[in-house]
């Protein structure tokens, strides 16, 4: 019922409008705020459903707004953007429920949910972006919308974390802007086209194209937490749990990874990137990040800090997938975009539950947590197994395809990287499970705020991790199902490689 050219814009607006309304809302209007949040989330889910059905039928959707002669804000839905939009919409719904539960008695909730909705609008806009200009606009808007969330608590170290976050992301933003403008001055308006649109410039501008590639990757790498640029992620853990869950597992970090995938496939095109040797460089960078992230995670006692470093390494799998020449590796990388999101958000939800219910923040305090909060810890277990890559959870599928793609492309050292990182994952996740299930619970929990009634914790806190854990399991078990992330990733890979 919504005309084709308005659907993408409508999807962005379904979270932007409630967000702006929430800002205007008084602090005490909890019910109205919750209603606004939920209607926004459900409306977006419905519209995304329409979008998926439309893209499946091959219809194309495009909303266009000319900002200036030659500069258009374009939102259109191709296979890759639909995948990322679906992921962020589903997880936004779940996280909103979780956030409502989590922030039960805390101040400044209007401000929180307002910026929370703006973040999602920016993420969705970024996913649906049809050209590099729109991508950069939403990429910067995401920085703007997330800064207040990281600084939400108002404590000095929240302000410090936010300042560091801002320094990195604005610096990255400027690099991305320079690269995008430089590219536009060479190739005119940069539109995302399957198979890349820069092949015409191949011969003459090679050096400039390489420089531009590194500028773009550096700009995107900040948010994708590639090694030298990942410093902000652990410090941003000072934000409340829903922020760490949605933003630092799905929205912000994925925006960077999604950008890298866009640049490699839809701007440069795999063939050109391979011929310029860019893929090899990206692969090395990604591998270093994977190993580095896992190694640092080993020594982190804070649960959220450990998960943060795990995110640093896991996100680079996507970059690794993009940097290996071959459809199978692409499938692995793209599907990991979804799988990592689902699994990591489960882990952050569980971490939030422990902190909120028992006041447990450190891994060393997690003895016997399994007995006290069985369902949360079960979800934690499913998530961690997925992270390590143990079947049948989703993580196994993406690592399997990545390994297969690496072998096919003949770069065996990537297989070595995958194996070592899986071992490292096990090294820093199993102690958590061991403590949780097999160790004796302490006499008194550090700060038990919610008593163990019929449910181990508040309903709104318990169900989200369980649901996402089930999703992770389903993505692993029913990978071959028609509308599963894996199927969708294969569709994307086919279109990118023009098979």
């Amino acid at each position: 019922m919504i005309p084709d050219n308005l659907l993408p814009a409508a999807i962005v607006l379904t979270s932007l409008v409630p967000g702006l309304l929430i800002f205007v809302l008084g602090e005490r209007r909890h019910v109205l705020r919750t209603v606004l949040n939920m209607t926004g989330a459900l409306a977006k889910l419905a519209l995304v459903g329409l979008l998926i059905q439309g893209v499946y039928e091959g219809r194309d959707f495009e909303s266009r707004l000319t900002l200036a002669p030659g500069l258009d804000l374009v939102l259109n839905a191709d296979a890759l953007s639909v995948l990322f939009v679906t992921l962020s919409t589903v997880l936004w719904l779940v996280t909103t429920v979780y956030a409502i539960g989590y922030l039960e008695h805390s101040p400044h909730r209007s401000r929180f949910f307002g910026f929370f909705s703006l973040c999602v609008s920016a993420t969705v806009g970024l996913a649906l972006a049809g050209n590099l200009l729109t991508f950069v606009i939403f990429y910067e808007a995401l920085t703007l919308a997330t800064y207040p969330l990281v600084a939400h608590r108002g404590t000095p170290d929240a302000a410090q974390g936010a300042r560091v976050y801002l320094g990195y992301t604005l610096g990255g933003g400027v690099l991305l802007l320079t690269g995008a403008i430089w590219l536009q001055s060479l190739a005119g308006p940069v539109v995302f086209t399957q198979g890349g649109m820069l092949s015409a410039l191949a011969g003459e501008y090679d050096t400039q194209l390489v420089l531009i590639f590194f500028l773009l990757i550096a700009g995107l790498g900040v948010k994708a937490a590639l090694v030298p640029l990942h410093g902000w992620l652990p410090q941003a853990m000072v934000a409340p749990a829903p922020v760490s869950a949605l933003l630092h597992a799905v929205a912000v970090v994925k925006a960077g990874a999604f950008g890298i995938v866009r640049v490699v496939y839809d701007v440069y095109g795999v063939v050109l990137a391979e011929s310029l040797g860019l893929l090899a460089a990206l692969a090395v960078l990604a591998s270093i990040t994977i190993v580095y992230g896992s190694v640092r995670a080993l020594s982190q006692d804070g649960l959220k800090k450990r998960l943060a470093y795990s995110t640093v390494s896991q996100v680079s799998y996507i970059a690794l997938g993009a940097s290996i020449f071959g459809p199978v590796a692409t499938i692995g990388g793209v599907v990991h975009l979804v799988h990592q999101g689902i699994m990591k958000i489960t882990l952050f939800f569980c971490a939030g539950n422990y902190a909120e219910t028992l006041g447990v923040h450190r891994v060393s305090e997690m003895d016997g947590v399994g007995r006290r909060m069985p369902w949360t810890t079960l979800a934690l277990t499913v998530g961690t197994l997925g992270m390590i890559g143990v079947p049948p959870v989703a993580g196994f599928v993406s690592k399997w395809y990545l390994g297969l793609g690496a072998v096919e492309a003949g770069s065996d050292w990537v297989l070595l990287i995958l194996v070592t990182s899986s071992l490292l994952n096990a090294a820093y996740f199993f102690p958590i499970l061991f403590r949780a299930w097999f160790k004796e619970a302490p006499a008194r929990w550090p700060k038990e705020r919610i008593a163990a009634g019929r449910l181990e914790t508040a309903a709104a806190l318990l169900w989200p991790p369980v649901i996402t854990a089930l999703l992770a399991l389903a993505a692993g078990l029913f990978a071959a199902a028609p509308a599963s992330p894996l199927e969708w990733a294969e569709l994307i890979a086919q279109r990118e490689y023009g098979l």
Partner: protein, 487 residues
Amino acid sequence: MIDWLALTVALPLLGAVFAVVLPTRARGIGMAAALLTTAMALSVSVQVVQGITLRSDLGGWGAPLGIGLQADGLSAALLVMANLVALGISAYALDYFDAGSRRHFWPLWLLLWTALNGLFLAVDLFNIYVTLELLGISAAALGALTGRREAVAANLRYLLVGLLGSMTYLLGVALAYTGLGTLDLGLAAQALTPGPLAWTIFALMLGGLLLKTALFPLHFWLPPAHAQAPAPVSAALSALVVKAAFYLILRLWLDLFGPVAGPAAGTLLGMLGAGGVVWGSWRAFRAERLKLLAAYSTVAQVGYLFMFFPLMAAAAIPRRQELFGALVLLALTHGFAKAGLFLSAGLLQKTAGHDRIAELGPATQSLPAVAFAIGFAGVALIGLPPSGTFVAKWVLLSESFASGQWWWAPVVLAGTLLAAAYVFRLLANAFGPGLQPGAAGGGDQSQCLVPIGRAVQAPALLMTLIAVVLLGLGAEPLWTLLQEPPP
């Protein structure tokens, strides 16, 4: 038949006159004149958008003898911005001033408004001089309204520097009349041929105006004058008065000195602009007080405006039209954003009793609407999307790459990062600990916060919203408005 252009100038003048003779009702008269003048300016712009270039020869004597008023795309765009911002400032000033200084503010404010409208419509060289003087004198008088020692000293220096600039400009006019035999801009342009006379007139007129638009290094007088003035006045000074002088430079550069102003002059202005961007942004970052920060930010933004000149001088016609549109968009966005920032600064100063940035935490938190206004103004000053500045900087940067003059790009980017640094230093206040509900007096900041009504916060928020949303996403019609390419 109604002479729209003459009315746009006559109405605020009449308003000022009645405000002088009826001081007790100065506020009411002032607001009425403000509304009427804005309506007039909007109707002029609507007619220009419909493709009619309005021209009225006052006194019916025609070009060489009489004085004309003209409104083309450029003047219509700036007229709309100036009048909307002035309306916002007037609404804000309604209850900003106490009874004593109210009767002084309104007449001078309406005279300043008259001068602004007069400048945007002027096409006679000597008439520009008289209007510039009216602008300078009323601005300096308004700036010294608080009567504090630093304010009077700063505005005296502003007046003297302004006079120096005007005298230099007047000498240029005298030589122009001597050499070209006419004072009308259009006729002078036809008579002007590159030569020693043309360069001298160019140097004199632009030199005088550069002093008045505070382009680095001639900006020394601006920060103290704008920081000491009362909030609505400093909003007008930074957003409008400086902009009017820039408009004149642009008008003379395009219409009169087209053939004379070669790439060399453009590059010189560009370099001075680049210096202004870096120096202004750095001093704004170091500023301790909010209004001083906003004043130095003006110096930086004026620098950006001048960085368009070298690129426009070297660009081919179609590309020059895009750059011209981006330049006007940047000027408009800065007008709204800076006015919004100064008005918000005024509110914070009224609430907290001071404007030391480090201690504005509680005040910023107690006024959410003002915090958002500062946020939007910050977005527009840095040039983050979705503000108009972002689009303008995108065009500027892509032209600096495409035309090979890549050295402008690092300056713009450095300026952007510095702007981000000083804006987020402000916004960090909004998230600081501030007055925790129930905290005992908030520790040492036990200053009580003067409550501020919601109505007075509206103009600042509205103006910055225009700068970010309207000019960011809906700026496309601006290019059609400026369609007829400058000669």
